[in-house]
Symmetry: C2
């Protein structure tokens, strides 16, 4: 396939999806041009989805890879309580997969992108030995209103959206739903938040570390997905639910969350469950860590 | 190396570099937070640097890879006439390379970043079978003043900064300098622009395609780098000079550029040299195209 055709197809895909009016110029120049709405902060995140690490071509279709790549980054926007604006999509694929795979990838990505009103404003396309995806997402949030990891205080309650362990139980084959709407609704009430991408145990550890606090969980309160084990709910990862903290008197919408524990004074990052230390799943060595968000 | 240590080291690296005041919150949360200056447009670009494709571990040090990864994206900011603001760095590395390689990578990247006052505001770090880098850069430009590919008109003169073919002649081992300052100075005078990342022939073709025009080059005017051939100057790629067009009466700073040709009416994207068609180097098939900017 010729470059011109490839770019035209990707443009057509992107044009058929949502166009955010902040995006002045999308695909087709050296850079995308964005004119942010005033009185807003912008938030930015980027996430790899790597063949053999986050998916396998044997078990995931092109559409599923595209969906997953955007879902991961959208989940970070959700964790900040932000509204999606635009994304840049970097895609490297082996030549043998060809334009049909690329079409499927964009179809999956844009099915999710259209639902959450995010514009594909540009990116990079390269041939490479294995499939590598890196999706950068930008969201907007009212000035100074982004949910941070660092706002949790001793005495705060710990909450989680949805149920946990379902992704691990299904061997990470289900389509997750980024909690964009929930993040926006929760943002007015919470003191801190993070999305559960690598597992409740490690992501709560990360939140506590940034807040300089410890946390105690009650195992009986953890909402375990149907069929999953408590272990999968604690350490499984890729559920992409939101983990938030809020002052005890905050009017957190109860329909959105389950209370699972309490923030305490203690060694920053220390997490206990039923009074015993809860090791952060996979947290030991770089080789065993799925991903480091810097 | 433990995740905590890795993140701490990357934070330390980044903190020692330039901190743009638009970056409200950098490394350490789900997203970076940016508060853009009013009356500006923001421009965004992302570029892969892939092992075995853009560099080899046998011939490029970690510092050179880090430098190159940022230089490629900065060159896109230069092509828009924009001033660097912040970047997100996605890095995947084989475990065997370890923290020393990662340190070297950041050292190289930040040596360039500090010079051009760009803040590392976040990113992603993952272990993977080969080295994959994707650097997203954001720049700012006065509202409606970004240099576009699409502004060239018949009769405009075609200019290029610096000399061409040097990168290809050195087998892409030299450190290129992104033309940030030149882009900003040229932006008031030019009608269109692009950076020469893949070669003069293909990048002029791309500019003409977006502008709906053709171009004629004069081979005697092409500024060929010392030791390089005309062929390397035309098709070599990775020189990262700027290719711009301007009205004949524009006061383009002559010290910055060399005039090499003229924009004409004709088939959009058609480029001729000395009256004969100039095929865009490597432009034929996706497999032969180094990169597609979407």
């Amino acid at each position: 396939m010729r470059e011109l055709d490839l770019v035209r197809r990707i443009r057509e895909h992107a044009a058929a999806a949502y166009r955010n009016r902040s995006v002045v110029k999308g695909i087709g120049d050296d850079c995308a041009i964005v004119r942010p709405a005033q009185e807003n902060d912008l938030v930015f995140t980027t996430d790899f989805v790597l063949e053999g690490r986050h998916f396998s071509l044997a078990t995931h279709s092109a559409q599923e890879v595209g969906y997953k790549a955007l879902a991961r980054s959208l989940s970070d926007l959700a964790a900040m309580g932000s509204k999606p604006v635009f994304c840049l999509v970097s895609l490297a694929v082996p030549e043998r997969l060809g334009s049909r795979w690329i079409d499927g990838f964009y179809k999956g990505l844009l099915s999710l992108g259209t639902r959450y009103k995010i514009t594909v404003a540009g990116g990079d396309l390269s041939s490479f030995g294995s499939v590598v995806v890196d999706v950068m997402c930008c969201g907007q949030v009212q000035r100074n209103k982004a949910i941070l990891r660092s706002g949790a205080k001793p005495g705060d309650f710990v909450y989680v959206t949805g149920k946990l362990g379902g992704a691990a139980h299904s061997k990470w084959t289900t389509r997750v739903e980024p909690r964009i709407d929930e993040g926006i609704r929760l943002s007015r009430h919470v003191s801190a938040g993070i999305d559960i991408s690598d597992g409740l145990s490690i992501d709560l550890h990360r939140l506590c570390l940034e807040s300089g606090v410890a946390a105690e969980l009650d195992s009986a309160l953890i909402p375990v997905a149907s069929g999953a084990t408590l272990d999968e709910a604690l350490h499984g990862g890729e559920d992409y639910e939101l983990l938030v903290t809020a002052r005890p008197n905050a009017r957190v919408p109860k329909a959105l969350v389950t209370r699972i524990g309490t923030i305490k004074r203690g060694k920053p990052g220390a997490v206990t469950m039923d009074g015993r230390a809860l090791p952060a799943g996979g947290y030991d060595h770089f080789a065993r860590v799925r991903r480091v968000r810097i």
